[in-house]
């Protein structure tokens, strides 16, 4: 018990928890100022998520791509790279999965499904690798290239869907026969769109942890992230590590795309604008302090909030955009830990005194 207390009394856990509470508090204040009832709104939010098996399943569906894009951004962060391009990599992953899932539908499903998932990861990775390559060989800032690549991915995939996969007369591809859905859970979750992507995401998080902290290659990658000059001096190939890190980051994002088209929609739409997966991923990675376990927890929080926000507007008439204020404030308090420490200061002093005694 004593040991348990010690683990949870450390900053690493207290600061995010206090940050989350403060974030909800900011949201409540904003609601009161706007003339809404925050208690009603928050209970409507949680009621939406935990109220029925269907909604709970759909909330898990909402969390899944967040986990993977969060891992993608976090992985790049650990190697000193800012991958704003997860959005484009998700789209490329979707397109690769759709193409394989539709064009190779003649093959047995136990071949097509893994093949399209692998293709999604591979192409997502290679696409991110372009930015990594340009950074490594040409020194071009990855922020600018990934922003450009997001737009290129959007138009490229629209072109591919429109020209090769179109369902005539519709703004989307034909149905994809390959499926990642977990249909055996349909009765349990009332037909919520649960799919294997959730397990792929958990697997990716495990890989993230083992690779980065238990392997030599991961050690190099972290070294490059912390100080590229020192890493180079120690004989590590910085450029190669940059390309590899972007590739792995892109694989995560591409897999998120596979889950979305093969597990949720079963077709690919023509996007009018950026679907925004990557930007959610940035928020999740930051909320999760770029640690795989943190990212999974952050995706659960973020997914709960965004999925529940619809219930909030339905049940308490609060504009769902409010939830972005809550999420933004939580990230703010996590980032500016000084403020949280300042709030906690009275409690800290008390603890220190106890120690002296």
């Amino acid at each position: 018990m004593q040991r348990f207390k010690k683990i949870f009394a450390t900053d690493v856990y207290i600061v995010p928890l206090v940050a989350i509470l403060l974030g909800f508090l900011v949201g409540a204040i904003v609601m009161i100022v706007g003339g809404y009832n925050p208690i009603e709104a928050y209970s409507a939010l949680f009621q939406r998520v935990f109220g029925s098996p269907y909604d709970f399943g759909e909330a898990i569906r909402e969390m899944t791509p967040l986990m993977l894009t969060g891992l993608a951004v976090a992985f790049a962060f650990r190697s000193g790279l800012f991958n704003i391009g997860a959005d484009g990599q998700v789209i490329i992953g979707m397109t690769a999965a759709s193409v394989i899932g539709i064009k190779f539908a003649g093959l047995p499903m136990f071949i097509v499904v893994p093949l399209s998932v692998i293709a999604a990861g591979l192409f997502g990775g290679l696409y991110a690798g372009i930015a990594g390559y340009l950074k490594a060989k040409r020194g071009i800032n990855e922020v600018i290239t990934t922003i450009m690549l997001n737009w290129i991915a959007l138009f490229l995939s629209n072109y591919i869907v429109r020209t090769f996969l179109l369902l005539p007369g519709q703004n989307r591809s034909e149905d994809i026969p390959a499926s990642l859905s977990m249909t055996f859970l349909n009765s349990l979750f009332d037909n919520a769109r649960l799919h294997w992507g959730t397990f792929i995401a958990l697997g990716a998080a495990t890989f993230f942890y083992i690779f980065l902290w238990k392997s030599k290659q991961g050690y190099e990658m972290r070294a490059v992230g912390l100080n590229p000059h020192a890493a180079e001096y120690a004989g590590m190939n910085v450029g190669r590590n940059v390309i590899k890190a972007m590739f792995i980051s892109g694989v995560f994002a591409g897999l998120a795309g596979a889950g979305e088209v093969l597990g949720v929609f079963h077709y690919q739409s023509i996007f009018a604008a950026s679907p925004g997966y990557g930007f959610d991923g940035i928020a999740v990675a930051l909320l999760g302090l770029t640690h795989p376990l943190g990212v999974i927890l952050a995706a659960i929080l973020y997914g709960t909030l965004t999925y529940g926000s619809a219930g909030m507007s339905f049940g308490a008439d609060v504009p769902p955009e409010l939830i972005r204020i809550v999420i933004g404030s939580i990230i703010f308090f996590i980032a500016a830990q000084g403020i949280v420490r300042w709030v906690l200061k009275p409690f800290y002093f008390k603890r220190k005194k106890e120690k002296v005694l």
Binding site: I144, A283, G328
Partner: protein, 319 residues
């Protein structure tokens, strides 16, 4: 249509698209030259666009007439500055990671602007339509072929943007203030030793960036969309960041890059006027600006030269 008017119109549309990017990129330069990464330009533009739409609308109602859009611009400056203050407090005073606190701005802006629009206008997802700015023809100069139509018949904000490029270039490179601002971004401890207040300079840099990005957002509502909705600002802030990096953190360079982006936006509207463009899938035409940017970066610019202390909070105790 004859070629001269076509060229004039193309130039004019280019400037309409680039004006907002010029303002935001100039803002980014102030912040980043002082050593603070500003990924929050997108959100700051959102704040500005929102404030201009709301302020301009109420000013119009109150009978400001032709001055109403300028009231909108002033509101955008104030709200942009307030928004950037969050970034400044978090990243300078509390030494938060600058990328993270910039992302926070983007989130807070996306949430709070729409929240307020719904509050102010009874649940509607966008602000009522505005009159906005109208184009101003400079006497005499607007009679010159091509550039008369192209440059000297623009929105007042475009003239303001061009003037600001020159002013900011002068301020950054020819005044003591500019020297200090750049010193703080390159080598804060050296600047500190010489008596420059590092954090104060950084606050000024970030707040100026908020004001300028705010005007950038305002230009979009007051000249292009006439209303503020969830998709009014969709990526322009990031393109402005790209323009800033592309222009090597120099006002004139960023101006060039912003015009380049504006041009590639404009040209896709004009390419479609030609018969041969029917053979090219439209998606490839839409891709042009982004592909071109990467190609130009690969072939010409080479290693970018960011301010040396960019992204590092200043800690006097650290060597």
């Amino acid at each position: 249509m004859d070629v001269l008017t076509l060229l004039g119109q193309l130039l004019n549309t280019t400037l309409v698209f680039s004006t907002a990017l010029i303002f935001a990129a100039l803002g980014g330069i102030f912040s980043e030259r002082s050593g603070v990464v500003n990924i929050g330009l997108e959100g700051l533009m959102m704040f500005g666009a929102f404030a201009a739409a709301v302020g301009g609308y109420y000013a119009q109602d109150a009978g400001f007439g032709a001055w109403a859009p300028w009231v909108g611009v002033i509101c955008a400056i104030v709200v942009g500055a307030l928004g950037s203050l969050i970034h400044a407090v978090a990243s300078i005073t509390f030494k938060a990671d600058q990328t993270i606190s910039g992302t926070v701005i983007n989130f807070l802006a996306a949430g709070s602007t729409l929240y307020m629009v719904k509050l102010l206008f009874e649940g509607s997802g966008e602000t009522p339509l505005l009159a906005g700015f109208s184009k101003y023809k400079v006497p005499l100069l607007s009679d010159i072929p091509i550039i008369g139509e192209g440059i000297f018949s623009s929105y007042p904000t475009t003239y303001l943007a061009i003037v600001l490029v020159i002013v900011i270039y002068f301020v950054l490179f020819k005044t003591p203030f500019g020297l200090r601002l750049r010193a703080v971004g390159e080598h804060p401890s050296a600047a500190d030793t010489l008596g420059v207040n590092v954090n104060k300079m950084r606050y000024i840099g970030v707040i100026l960036s908020g004001m300028l990005a705010g005007i950038g957002g305002a230009t979009i509502t007051l000249t292009t969309t006439s209303t503020f909705a969830h998709n009014t600002i969709s990526g322009q802030g990031f393109i402005a960041i790209a323009a800033m990096i592309f222009g090597k953190w120099n006002p004139v360079g960023a101006f060039g890059a912003a015009v380049f982006f504006g041009f590639s936006q404009a040209i896709r509207n004009y390419v479609q006027l030609f018969e041969w463009s029917k053979n090219i899938p439209q998606e490839f035409i839409f891709m042009i600006p982004y592909v071109l940017t990467i190609i130009v970066l690969v072939s010409a610019v080479g290693r970018s030269s960011a301010p040396k202390a960019l992204g590092q909070p200043y800690d006097p105790g650290k060597r």
